[in-house]
């Protein structure tokens, strides 16, 4: 069914495949950039990029390595000051979700010449600022930040994770090169892959879903169902590239239809216990699906086809498809646990029982909770958290 009204945007140019990194120089020049700031957590990928600058009138204005996890406000404000002092004019972010979110914070500050990223928080409230070409190179296949309008930034002083939502945050170019996820350890491949799967499932079931986000979500789920076990068990370049594409597509999907209860609770776990986002999401996904089942059952049933393929879909009676989708997801979690040491409980992610009430109280105020198809109270979230311990 077509919604009464919806909006969709995906402006990102995608470079996917072999030697995509080497084309970053061309993309920067095409956008009039001369001195990019490079933010990276990768080991050496930035050298491939900078060596392709040679002889083209391009030089890195700033290279910042070892970006801390969770994109803290203090780091972003510091990098933004350096960006200005070094005369940078564009941004290249090479890393996982935290690096790209840090770069988005930097982008906001640079484009609006602001001295504090906190002043720009909110949803669709910032106008287009100065033109700062922004290229994102994800090194994990999960966050999808290379194609989303969202940045989650840690306000460490208040123990909060703040959401920044703006179409101006969508990077101009996303680079999916087989080289970037080659050294991804199985544990990280497993957890970030589950994050991508969660983005797609929540995008498909949230209240803001629309036909275009559905198309991206189902395409992502199909690729993840096939390739996530492979990248953890015996990764090939093809499987890695498929997961990178799936992660981006899931990102486009949730960028336009948002996420729901899994992310609301995972953000709270991250804000209060510093739980890595992908681990929290992986543990919470099926518990939250069970909670949503009575309201989202039909939609879950539809997702069995892209996730498990036509044989399993056809052999499962229609009324049992929703539950089958959940059990198939649980089976995938077990494989990832065995092969990739993916945690299956919150207690394995550094969360203790006494923190649960604070997590539930924070989750109920997360923006994602508004878009979950089934209403959740603080008590409901406590129940989910207890089951997930």
């Amino acid at each position: 069914m077509i919604p009464e009204y919806y909006e969709f945007q995906n402006k990102t140019k995608i470079l996917s495949g072999k030697n995509a990194l080497e084309n970053i120089a061309f993309e920067l020049l095409a956008r009039g950039a001369k001195a990019p700031a490079i933010l990276t957590n990768s080991r050496g990928l930035e050298n491939i990029v900078t060596s392709s600058f040679e002889g083209k009138g391009l030089a890195a204005g700033l290279i910042r390595k070892n970006i801390p996890a969770d994109a803290p406000v203090k780091t972003i404000n510091q990098i933004a000051a350096d960006f200005k002092n070094n005369g940078c004019d564009s941004i290249v972010a090479i890393g996982g979700g935290s690096v790209i979110d840090t770069a988005k914070g930097l982008y906001l500050m640079a484009a609006h010449e602001s001295d504090d990223v906190l002043k720009l928080s909110g949803s669709e409230c910032v106008k287009a600022g100065k033109n700062i070409p922004f290229i994102a190179v994800p090194t994990t296949s999960g966050a999808g930040s290379e194609a989303t309008l969202a940045a989650v930034i840690a306000d460490e002083e208040n123990g909060k994770k703040l959401a920044f939502l703006s179409y101006s945050l969508v990077p101009d170019v996303a680079v999916l090169d087989v080289k970037t996820t080659k050294s991804l350890p199985p544990k990280l491949a497993a957890s970030t892959g589950m994050d991508a799967l969660t983005h797609a499932i929540e995008a498909y079931t949230c209240l803001q879903k629309n036909p275009l986000s559905d198309a991206y979500a189902t395409a992502a789920i199909s690729l993840i169902g096939e390739n996530l076990p492979l990248v953890v068990q015996n990764p090939t370049d093809d499987a890695r590239l498929a997961m990178a594409n799936a992660s981006l597509m899931a990102g486009v999907a949730f960028s336009n239809s948002m996420v729901g209860i899994v992310h609301a609770v995972a953000h709270a776990c991250g804000g209060i216990c510093k739980t890595p986002h992908a681990n929290a999401v992986a543990v919470l996904l099926t518990r939250c699906m069970e909670f949503n089942l009575d309201v989202c059952g039909e939609l879950y049933a539809e997702l069995l086809l892209p996730f498990s393929g036509p044989e399993i879909y056809a052999s499962t009676p229609a009324p049992k498809r929703a539950v089958r989708f959940i059990t198939e997801t649980q089976a995938l979690l077990q494989v990832l646990h065995r092969r990739g040491r993916l945690p299956l409980k919150l207690s394995e992610c550094g969360i203790t029982a006494e923190k649960l009430p604070r997590i539930a109280a924070a989750a109920i105020n997360d923006g994602a909770i508004l878009l979950n198809r089934k209403e959740a109270t603080e008590e409901d979230i406590m129940e989910i958290l207890i089951k997930a311990m």
């Binding site: 928080s121 669709e124 909060k160 703040l162 109920i364 508004l370 209403e375």
Partner: protein, 166 residues
């Protein structure tokens, strides 16, 4: 021309409805336990604004766990603004929920989204008092319980002068 006339009617009616919502929120912050609980999560002095595309912008400040109206000069910590009155009007009239306005990208939010979520719940409580249940069942995804006296709410809404909420 006809379009212009409709827009003007929406504008005038919207302005009146916004002032009723503003007064309702102030009244409920004195009588409804759900609203009082939500306000406990805001720092004292926190100011919200709601711009519905009519000339008046609703501005409320949290003072000692109650809502009071605040002046146009007060800078809002949380500013919710409709992109156009056509998006705001059904919400003001009660034929659409505030969540649906968020879902349809009809609003922008400046400030913490966690506060915006709490603000949405407060608005929903006010809707539960102001609108008949059969309307809410059709329009709202979440119908909160009323945790205060309906009589006390209407008494404050009708008989208290606006100055009482300053």
């Amino acid at each position: 021309m006809r379009q212009d006339k409709f827009r003007r009617i929406k504008y005038i009616t919207g302005k009146k409805l916004l002032s009723i919502i503003q007064k309702s929120l102030c009244a409920l912050s004195r009588t409804d336990k759900g609203v009082i609980l939500e306000l406990g999560g805001f720092p004292d002095g926190f100011t919200f604004s709601l711009d519905a595309g009519v000339s008046d912008v609703m501005r409320l400040t949290v003072r000692e766990n109650r809502l009071v109206t605040s002046g146009a000069d007060d800078c809002a910590d949380l500013a919710v603004a409709f992109k156009d009155i056509t998006g705001a009007f059904p919400v003001l009239l009660g034929t659409k929920s505030i969540e649906s306005a968020f879902i349809e990208h009809r609003v922008t939010v400046s400030g913490g989204i966690d506060y915006a979520v709490s603000f949405v719940r407060i608005i929903n409580i006010a809707r539960a008092y102001l609108l008949p249940k059969r309307v809410l069942i059709k329009t709202d995804m979440r119908i909160p319980d009323k945790k205060g006296s309906v009589f006390a709410f209407y008494k404050n809404l009708i008989f208290l002068k606006e100055e009482a909420f300053r």
